[in-house]
């Protein structure tokens, strides 16, 4: 079998993983910042999955959040894929109280834009956004001069 592209693996070094930032959230937050290369995709999934497991998120809802995070991150990465110097992609996540004793994961995937190239294949992009919308309660893209921020809220799960 062919091994993963070692260049990609080498370049996807992780800059920071922090847990526990305070705020409106009811439990500790997650922050992951990685170089936007394909090898980063699996790391984002692993970090999100571990975070949700620690929060005892229901497995199917956890898998859906992980799938949405992966599509959001891969959307950034595939735009950056042909850039000479890929930028970074950042995941911020926290948990908020929801009505009736429920809770929601609130996630944002951020890139800083300038290194981004032409959009990926529209077919891929379409499937990716379809999966995100089917997996989360809401998905919103915010464009700014500095880049793009994708905001997602999970479906509510019991606290």
């Amino acid at each position: 079998m062919v091994s993963p592209d070692s260049n990609d693996v080498d370049r996807a070094f992780e800059l920071s993983v922090q847990a526990g930032s305070p705020g409106a959230e009811i439990r500790g937050g997650l922050q992951v910042r990685l170089t936007a290369v394909p090898a980063a995709s699996g790391l984002f999934r692993e970090r999100a999955r571990t975070w949700l497991d620690d929060l005892q998120w229901p497995p199917q809802e956890r898998d859906d959040v992980v799938a949405a995070v992966c599509e959001a991150v891969e959307n950034v990465i595939s735009h950056a894929y042909h850039a000479r110097q890929p930028g970074e992609v950042l995941l911020n996540a926290h948990v908020e109280r929801a009505p009736q004793g429920m809770r929601q994961a609130v996630l944002e995937v951020i890139d800083h834009g300038r290194w981004r190239q032409a959009p990926a294949d529209p077919g891929d992009r379409g499937h990716g956004f379809t999966i995100m919308r089917a997996s989360m309660a809401s998905v919103r893209t915010v464009l700014s001069d500095g880049g793009t921020r994708l905001e997602m809220r999970s479906r509510s799960v019991p606290a």
Binding site: M1, V2, P4, D5, D8, V9, D10, A12, F13, E14, L15, S16, V17, P38, A39, A40, S41, G42, L43, R45, E46, Q60, D63, D64, V66, A67, C70, E71, E74, I77, S78, D121, G123, D124, R125, H127, G128, T130, I131, A134, S135
Partner: protein, 125 residues
């Protein structure tokens, strides 16, 4: 915090691609995660198998633990290659009830496009 990556994404991103021949068909068993990193290897393996298979190619996805949009696009591309190519074997996908694979296929409506089966024996009939 900088962590060494050598052994980090490896396990998560490993994709297993095993083939075996049975009378009348070639079976490609896929294990692991199909994402942006691993999709090109899956696509290449399926193309190679479509050339190799005489009568039928069965791709077993029941042990795949993640399938993303790039992998979906690759499977659709392979299905089109199978349907439109000259002397290409038919392509059948075994997914059973494997949610990480079935859910992205269903929410994107691609269950209308892909030939899905519950088990390898069912796909071989």
């Amino acid at each position: 915090m900088v962590e060494p990556l050598e052994d980090e994404p490896g396990e998560e991103s490993l994709l297993g691609l095993d083939t075996r021949e049975v009378p009348g068909a070639l079976i490609l068993t896929v294990t692991g995660e199909i994402d942006l990193l691993t999709t090109p290897r899956l696509r290449a393996a399926v193309s190679e198998c479509l050339d190799r298979a005489d009568e039928l190619l069965v791709v077993d996805l029941t042990q795949v633990s993640f399938l993303g949009s790039h992998g979906l696009a690759a499977l659709v591309g392979a299905a089109q290659e199978s349907a439109n190519g000259r002397n290409k074997a038919p392509l059948r996908l075994v997914v059973d009830g494997n949610r990480p694979v079935v859910r992205p296929i269903q929410v994107t409506g691609l269950d209308e496009v892909l030939a899905l089966y519950h088990s390898v024996p069912e796909a071989l009939v």
